[in-house]
């Protein structure tokens, strides 16, 4: 028995602020490249049909479901995963800290996707209403928390980020 051989393509993109070149198979999804080839396992896989939001990453700041987004589509773009949110001094992003403060997760499996979806919202709408938060986050499922603490965490993060901007 021998290893199967497959066609490989070269993929260049920016990942968490650093330029990267990686070989991947044309049919591979972004989540497969992130998880299997780059060992960035913070991106979680659940429904695989773009319903649950667990695999959410940001491409040029916009949330995409990496379970169905072909890795090749990221060519030349900027990708942010949960591993890219802490600053250089290992300080958590305010959204991450507010998720801890507000008990906005339990099992944690939806959390990376939740946080990245929330980041896309707050980068675009710095001071969202609860309705805007709920509308924006409706594509992310959580089975533990009943969502209410997540809305609170995002509201609080908006305030913290606003204060930081001065």
């Amino acid at each position: 028995m021998s290893k199967p051989s497959r066609n490989l393509v070269e993929l260049r993109f920016e990942l968490n602020g650093k330029d990267l070149t990686v070989e991947c198979e044309p049919q591979q999804t972004l989540s497969e490249v992130l998880r299997n080839r780059l060992n960035l396992t913070g991106t979680k896989i659940s429904c695989e049909v773009q319903v649950c939001g667990a695999c959410t990453v940001l491409v040029d700041g916009l949330p995409v479901s990496s379970c169905t987004y072909l890795a090749y589509e990221a060519q030349g773009h900027s990708v942010t995963t949960i591993e890219g949110l802490e600053d250089a001094g290992r300080k958590l992003h305010p959204i991450q800290q507010c998720f801890i403060d507000e008990f906005a997760f339990q099992c944690g499996f939806c959390t990376p996707g939740m946080i990245l979806s929330a980041k896309a919202l707050l980068d675009d709408v710095p001071d969202p209403t609860d309705d805007e938060i709920i509308h924006h986050m409706d594509g992310n499922l959580c089975r533990c928390t009943g969502y209410v603490p997540i809305v609170k965490a995002i509201r609080k993060a908006a305030a913290v980020m606003k204060e930081a901007r001065g």
Partner: protein
């Protein structure tokens, strides 16, 4: 939130941040899906397209020679293994042998270098089936002419957990039956002032833990090692012991963080199949199921309940009778226990002098049913709490007042032979009534309801732990319980820190590795805070006793002269903290002391249940009568938890459970079209989302320190689910006058019920 109450304690009863917080918000928390072993191959599973069929032949030769394929595992090639497992009934083959019993059952498994190759090879397997008549519902399954699912008689599993004899495999499709009886129901119903009677359905539901089942196995000279998403690794170990005929010391299960369980990951699932593949391939293998496959692995039992309840002229409930048919699917899994528990939980939290419950759990050619958060209780509380409202309406009483008059009182032995009631439901109900504005006027189209439940929870009390106090004063807790998100990695260190008088930050959990952590029977039935919490408390105290003896030794005094204080000891002028005691004892700044505790069915835990899990829930809904769409506007919960070790975590359990209950009450149902599961994917199986949540949510905890857990704690996390489906049915009735007795209350069902109620000028029959 509980600052005032926390005066009694330094560390417990405070909402300290989760210990796993940083790992989980940064993507570094490790789940089995993230684990890779050197030399690891991947497994994919071929599943039966038929609900019931004989396997006539199978040709796997093309798959076996496909480039990149290591092996193919088949049911007719398991020589050397005992292929049947089941903690309750050993009826479940690790892969189909001779026949398949539900559409989706594994019939062959390909082990290959990568996942894609394994998928490709599945296409190359040819199976010839001879289709057999299938039975999909308990009613048809119990008919004399029904085809038998299981021809052989089974052994009871060694850890079966239910009281009755094994019924499975005795010439019918009856998997298990359970009966509860006291008083004289016939006489009571004959003299009743009012009776309500009806049939209620609780749907087939899927727990949807976001992390689908996953396991990695390696079988070598040392034995079997598995990484698994199992809730109860020690129970899985017992099944593997039989499969491989090995002592438990050679079977190791390692459970890192689990991406949600809600009962669906309790007991043994894919571990026998994965370890058989590793045994066959002689290398480590990983099986990662998709969500669609997870939906073909386990679901909750659906239940059809006929129930009648009677009151006397004073408005006291005098009798309840129920007959329940539960659909356990193709294999018993945990359904024999679900059957027993749902029988017990029919009585509800009410003191009823005449009771008769007859419960039948029936095999069908559907996905095997097993535990699902609150198992058994939610199924029958749909009937029980609906009937309480129906009965109150019949006698013209307010359903809230009617409950206050009839709920079990503290210390009342409302279930003969069981632990006297250890909660305060009247207080729970009052809190919720206040928080949802029970007496306030309602807008048109709105309805309110209040409900409650009490279930015999805590599972079986068999738990042990070791608390290691190190010479630098830090502490390791050796915890067999799994961290599913419920927060045991936070709550248990709070208890140890409280007892040992050390900082919460220096206490760490070593979790769920059967080769390292002492035995804990299970992580379910809301038992961990109560049983493991109590074990950690006792083991911490035992460590302190040992350190007091060490202090006496190093100070050269009698033990009686040593006084134990927070974080250390004093003796006259001398004051030593634990680090100083150990350093002086060992004459080096290193070494440790190990405190132990063994919890068994004795002493405080002699009488079951370990505790009654009780809560009250109340809601307000609005109903769009043109479309039948129900919107939940308000939710109130009161969790009767004895003492919340971490109030924020306890409240998180209550709202999480209530949300799951809302999903089952309003949206969720696995539907079959003929023999095939119709909506076995997340595009078509509707789950609660952000926009479904009520805008007003009020969570409260009732802390009367009346449990047997540490500081009077009891478990929580199921009760707020149990009453929710009936809450929704009752609130919809109060909003529209239409009574719906089948969950979920989808827009179509509600719309039809409203039409029917209008047409008949009142009570509808559906």
């Amino acid at each position: 939130m509980s600052e005032e109450k926390s005066r009694d304690f330094e560390v417990v009863n405070r909402s300290v941040p989760r210990r796993d917080g940083r790992a989980k918000v940064s993507g570094r928390a490790l789940y089995v899906s993230d684990v890779k072993l050197a030399g690891m191959a991947h497994v994919k599973v071929l599943r039966s397209p038929y609900a019931h069929a004989r396997i006539v032949s199978m040709d796997t030769s093309a798959a076996e020679t496909h480039r990149g394929v290591c092996n193919v595992l088949r049911g007719d090639d398991l020589e050397g293994l005992n292929p049947y497992f089941g903690h309750a009934v050993k009826d479940h083959p690790l892969i189909a042998i001779d026949k398949v019993r539900y559409a989706g059952e594994p019939v062959a498994a390909v082990i290959a270098e990568d996942e894609l190759t394994a998928y490709e090879a599945l296409e190359l397997i040819r199976v010839e089936y001879q289709e057999l008549p299938a039975v999909m519902e308990p009613g048809e399954s119990l008919e004399k002419t029904a085809p038998l699912l299981h021809e052989r008689q089974f052994e009871a599993g060694a850890l079966r957990g239910f009281e009755g004899e094994v019924t499975a495999g005795r010439g019918s499709n009856l998997c298990q039956e359970h009966h509860v009886k006291w008083g004289d129901v016939d006489a009571a119903f004959a003299r009743a002032a009012a009776v309500v009677e009806g049939e209620y359905y609780f749907p087939m539901a899927y727990a949807y833990a976001m992390e689908p089942y996953v396991a990695i196995a390696e079988v070598g000279d040392d034995g079997v090692t598995l990484y698994s998403s199992a809730q109860h690794p020690f129970m899985v170990r017992h099944d593997l012991k039989t499969i491989f005929d090995m002592p438990v010391s050679r079977i190791r299960l390692i459970v890192p963080f689990v991406g949600g369980g809600y009962g669906s990951k309790s007991y043994t699932k894919i571990e026998p199949l994965v370890s058989a593949c590793a045994w066959k391939a002689r290398r480590p293998v990983k099986l990662q199921l998709s969500v669609e496959e997870a939906m073909l692995t386990t679901r909750g039992d659906d239940a059809l309940t006929w129930m009648r309840t009677a009151v006397d002229a004073d408005g006291k409930i005098i009798a309840r009778q129920a007959k329940i048919y539960m659909n356990t699917g193709a294999y018993a899994e945990n359904s024999p226990l679900v059957c027993e528990k749902s029988s017990n939980r029919c009585v509800g939290p009410y003191a009823i002098p005449n009771v008769q419950i007859d419960n039948y759990s029936v095999y069908t050619n559907t996905v095997p049913a097993s535990s699902f958060r609150g198992f058994g209780c939610a199924q029958v509380t749909m009937a029980g709490e609906s009937q309480i409202d129906e009965l109150a309406a019949r006698i013209g009483k307010d359903p809230y007042e009617f409950r206050l008059d009839n709920v079990a009182r503290p210390k009342q032995e409302f279930f003969p032979g069981m632990r006297p009631f250890d909660g305060t439901l009247t207080q729970d109900l009052r809190i919720v009534a206040d928080n949802i504005g029970w007496k306030e006027p309602l807008p048109r189209g709105h309805g309110r309801s209040i409900g409650c439940s009490a279930s015999d929870a805590g599972a079986y009390p068999l738990t042990s732990t070791a608390v290691r106090v190190h010479a630098d004063g830090s502490v390791s807790l050796m915890i067999g319980s799994t961290e599913l998100g419920q927060g045991s990695h936070t709550v248990l260190p709070q208890i140890a820190a409280e007892e040992l008088g050390v900082s919460f930050d220096v206490v760490r959990v070593v979790s769920s590795d059967t080769a390292i952590t002492p035995y804990d029977r299970s992580t379910g039935a809301s038992r961990t805070t109560t049983l493991m919490g109590r074990a950690v408390q006792e083991a911490s105290r035992e460590a302190k006793e040992q350190m007091v003896r060490m202090a006496a030794d190093v100070l050269g005094v009698e033990e009686s002269e040593i006084e134990s204080v927070r974080g250390g000891v004093t003796c006259g002028e001398a004051r030593l903290n634990w680090s100083e005691v150990l350093t002086r004892y060992y004459k080096l700044p290193d070494g440790e002391v190990i405190g132990r505790a063994y919890i068994r069915k004795d002493g405080d835990f002699a009488q079951l249940p370990v505790f009654w899990e009780a809560a009250s829930t109340g809601i307000e809904v609005s109903v769009d009568e043109e479309t039948g769409k129900v919107t939940m506007e308000k939710l109130g919960t009161a969790g009767d938890v004895g003492l919340a070790i971490n109030p924020a975590l306890a409240e998180g359990q209550d709202i999480g459970a209530a949300t799951t209950g809302m999903g089952i009450g309003m949206f969720e149902e696995l539907e079959f079209d003929g023999n095939q599961l119709l909506n076995g994917n997340l595009l078509e199986y509707r789950l609660p989302r952000f926009s479904d949540m009520p805008r007003s949510v009020k969570l409260e905890l009732v802390e009367n320190r009346d449990g047997v857990g540490p500081y009077g704690a009891k478990g929580g996390g199921e009760a707020s689910l149990n009453s929710l489906p009936a809450n929704i049915a009752n609130a919809v009735y109060n909003a529209t006058g239409a009574r719906v007795r089948r969950a979920p209350l989808t827009p179509e069902k509600v719309w039809r019920a409203i039409r029917e109620a209008r047409a008949t000028g009142g009570e509808n029959k559906s």
